[in-house]
Subunit: 152 residues, 2 copies
Amino acid sequence: MKRDSRLSITLHALLHMAERKTITSEELAACLSTNPVVVRRTMAGLREAGLVRSEKGHGGGWSLACDLATVSLADVHAALGEPAFFAIGNRTESPGCLVEQAVNAAMDGALREAELLLLQRLGTISLADLSRDFQQRMALGRQKTKEQNHVG
Amino acid sequence: MKRDSRLSITLHALLHMAERKTITSEELAACLSTNPVVVRRTMAGLREAGLVRSEKGHGGGWSLACDLATVSLADVHAALGEPAFFAIGNRTESPGCLVEQAVNAAMDGALREAELLLLQRLGTISLADLSRDFQQRMALGRQKTKEQNHVG
DNA sequence: AATCACGTAACATATTGAGTTACATGAAAC
DNA sequence: GTTTCATGTAACTCAATATGTTACGTGATT
């Protein structure tokens, strides 16, 4: 596995859900170029956290159960079970070797600071912010197409 | 694989090397609770970067080829080939989907900031700093032992 | 010549995210 | 009530990769 993209997948799914009242796992999987089971599995945590709802049967599927403005990317990360941010880490957690203790202390300090900053950044970005960014990209795309049409 | 601990291993090895003129892969492996081949493989990058030397044959082994005060943890990370810091990332690097573009932009921004901070932190810590920390831990350990002896 | 130690290839192992198949459950439509 | 649709979940496979291990080649010292 290269990288854990569950947060990326989930955000992508949430924004697509924001564009429609309900959407099925199959449709989402098509949007995300993945598998419906992956969608259900990944979103299970969001359902438990109350961010989304899921309905079985005819007309079922996924729908938002939260206000986009009040949910941050950090909240989504938490709902996913707080997957590890870092690929690097210490070899031993509580080593007897004093050398390793010194190494661990330095590494832990730097990693902790970076993690705090990352969490803080993710905490300040709401799903509504992402949605707004998407809408802007849409508008820009339309504008570009229009210009092209004028040129043609 | 749980986590990439090459940086941790390497720093551990470097500090042990700082305590002795030369040390063999086998001895280092014993210190680090790993395998001599892992030591050689991991340190290959450091040798190419000129941070350490290695000598074959009788009396051979590893020795430092740098001033601990002028080498930062970031330098060591670079010598290792800059292994990825983060376990999380985007699903697709250049997606056509505008939703995913918006998601990627936000994620990239946050990750980039965290990475810059991490690199900056690692850049300000020198091997000499780590060595000093180790020496302090040694001194503290001796002091404690002494006190215990007095009590006993 | 023997021994020691690194250099490296090749293969095994373990972990984990992702993909896939299969089947059960439940809700709506007919 | 039966069919159809959609989720829930277990179980399996696949892929990537750090680490562990074995084996053998190379070069330096004794």
